[in-house]
Point group: C2
Chain length 151, copies 2
DNA sequence: ACTGTACATTTGTATCTACAAATATTGTTG
DNA sequence: CAACAATATTTGTAGATACAAATGTACAGT
């Protein structure tokens, strides 16, 4: 469905406005899909992203600021987000010995396990989401988005 | 900046996951930009969208459900969103006479004025956001996103 | 007219987010 | 080393969001 049909009120808008809305709208649709996959695991998207970032550390701890740098959604309240993950036993947090202002956050085995369980499910979900666009379009889309962000 | 550099932890991910994240990440960046433009007007994105939808009605009132259909962010709490706009004097709301379950929402002159003031600013902002991608890429991007959503 | 069902919106509540201010630690400079 | 600035995180709080339940209205079948 073209964006004009999906959101009837944008008919009269210029191509730029339409495109900007199209990106945000498509993003929302994708997010809804991902949320519905994560929900049974009591995870929201930012929490899931943090877990994946921590796994990417390969045993090295991350401090809050590195976590924030690597998050999709940078403005979220990372301390409290990590609190939630600690409560679930998926990460732990300790004060950094070399610089007591910093904090060291590590994913636990339980956290790694939940990710391992989720991997095939989210991979499949992402493939479903992108199933109707070709490999070439995929590459072009990424290039366009990367270029876009240099504005 | 390529998405791999922007979010270092996605290096090891497959093209589909990477693309999905790229869309959400780019959308966030765009939203931040729009938010900063709307903020001085005490408007957030969903409120602004509702105002534009109401203007698109050309004098005809919209009821809540039509409003929701046409919103980018469908799950938001539209009653309370409209409450905010009423408080600011930009819309008014009345019970629909032919069907008292429904509600009729209309943009006020004051609401139209604020939109008119915002039009050039947001247009310019959207053009800035998309300034680095060509007309052809723009068209291709819209096509790809429209196709994507048919999954 | 009465009953049940569908529809349209509102409300309650828990959670999440944004933003600013507070706290705590480290580094720098006279 | 005292004073001040810089860094890193946490906390307070107001506002926004998601989801379910509640409210109020219309309609269809009997």
């Amino acid at each position: 469905m073209k964006i004009e049909e999906a959101l009837k009120s944008i008919h009269s808008m210029g191509i730029t406005t339409k495109t900007v809305i199209n990106i945000m709208y498509t993003s929302r649709i994708i997010e809804e899909e991902i949320v519905s996959v994560l929900k049974p695991y009591d995870l929201n998207i930012p929490q899931y992203n943090v877990l994946r970032i921590l796994r990417g550390q390969n045993g090295q701890p991350a401090n809050l600021s590195t976590l924030q740098e690597r998050m999709v959604d940078r403005n979220s309240n990372t301390t409290r987000l990590v609190d939630k993950l600690i409560k679930k036993g998926w990460v732990n947090r300790s004060v950094c010995k070399s610089n007591r202002r910093k904090v060291e956050i590590l994913i636990t085995n339980k956290g790694l396990e939940i990710l391992k369980e989720l991997d095939p499910i989210t991979d499949q979900n992402n493939e479903k989401i992108l199933s109707n666009i070709s490999k070439e379009e995929l590459e072009a889309l990424n290039t366009t988005l990367d270029t876009l962000r240099t504005f």
